[in-house]
């Protein structure tokens, strides 16, 4: 499984949504499932899944699925 698919799976599971809607343009707060509380669960799941600990600024900046991939590249996750 490549990292895009892995991240898509993490999003789908953490936000309890269908994988099909996890696309680059999926934005924070654009669906009711991705609210501020779910965001923290999502961050914890990403940290756990990629064995990293995102910086607070990155947690705040992670405003879409596409942005999440951009941020994860900083932590040596390749897409």
């Amino acid at each position: 499984m490549d990292n895009t698919e892995k991240l898509r799976g993490i999003f789908a599971k953490a936000l309890e949504i269908d994988k099909a809607i996890v696309v680059d343009s999926l934005e924070y707060n654009s669906i009711f499932q991705w609210d501020s509380v779910a965001h923290m669960s999502l961050v914890a799941a990403i940290d756990d899944g990629f064995d990293i600990m995102m910086e607070t600024d990155d947690v705040i900046d992670m405003s879409s699925f596409g942005k999440a991939k951009e941020i994860l590249r900083k932590y040596d996750v390749e897409f």
Partner: protein
Amino acid sequence: MLSGKYALVTGANRGIGRAIVETFAQNGANIIANSRTEGSLDDLCSELAGKYDVQTVPVYFDVSQPDQVKQAFQKIIKITKELDIAVNNAGVLVDNLLGMIRADTIQEVFGINAFGAIYVMQYAARLMTRNKRGSIINLSSIVGVCGNEGQVVYSGSKAAIIGITRSAAKELAPFNIRVNAIAPGFIDTDMVKTLPEDIYKERVGSIKMNRIGTPQDVANCALFLASDLSEYVTGQIIGVDGGMLI
């Protein structure tokens, strides 16, 4: 009571922090001990590891510096991904009457006592959220609850801990992370030893149990809050003060 759990304790090199670290280790917890003074915890960690057969790791950083806290947690996740307990104990006590308070004193005291607790909690809660469990214990003070003359800055920073604790408890309860605070009264630490004898006697005289508290009294309360005995307790500020009146 804490067998196999991982506990981070800030300000662990003396007084209440040291008593908490020793008590947790005695109860089977693995310890990540913090101080900002490089090397100050090396001997204690070695001693506790040998005595109680637990893992003890010193991590040196200044809780008031966000970058240092961030880097510390990058080290901590290499030690464990299962942080169970975080104790925000690091603190400074500075007494100044109104009109004689320097701006940098306010920055320093709030930076360590209040902002530092938030910086640590942000990362600790992230680790705990992964596992859907955890206990965060913040150290407030009786003067944070009641106020005290000459302590506008210190009591303000400790009052901030109360709001921080209650808000974090509400936010983190859905993740099964509990957040409580301890508000110690007059406790026998290095800070107390510098007091003039008459003030010392006056303070002890205001305690209904008629004795000064010990760091162990506070550590015992922290043990309760860290353990599963308090698994349904969150958002509470528990006084450990022997019935002290201010």
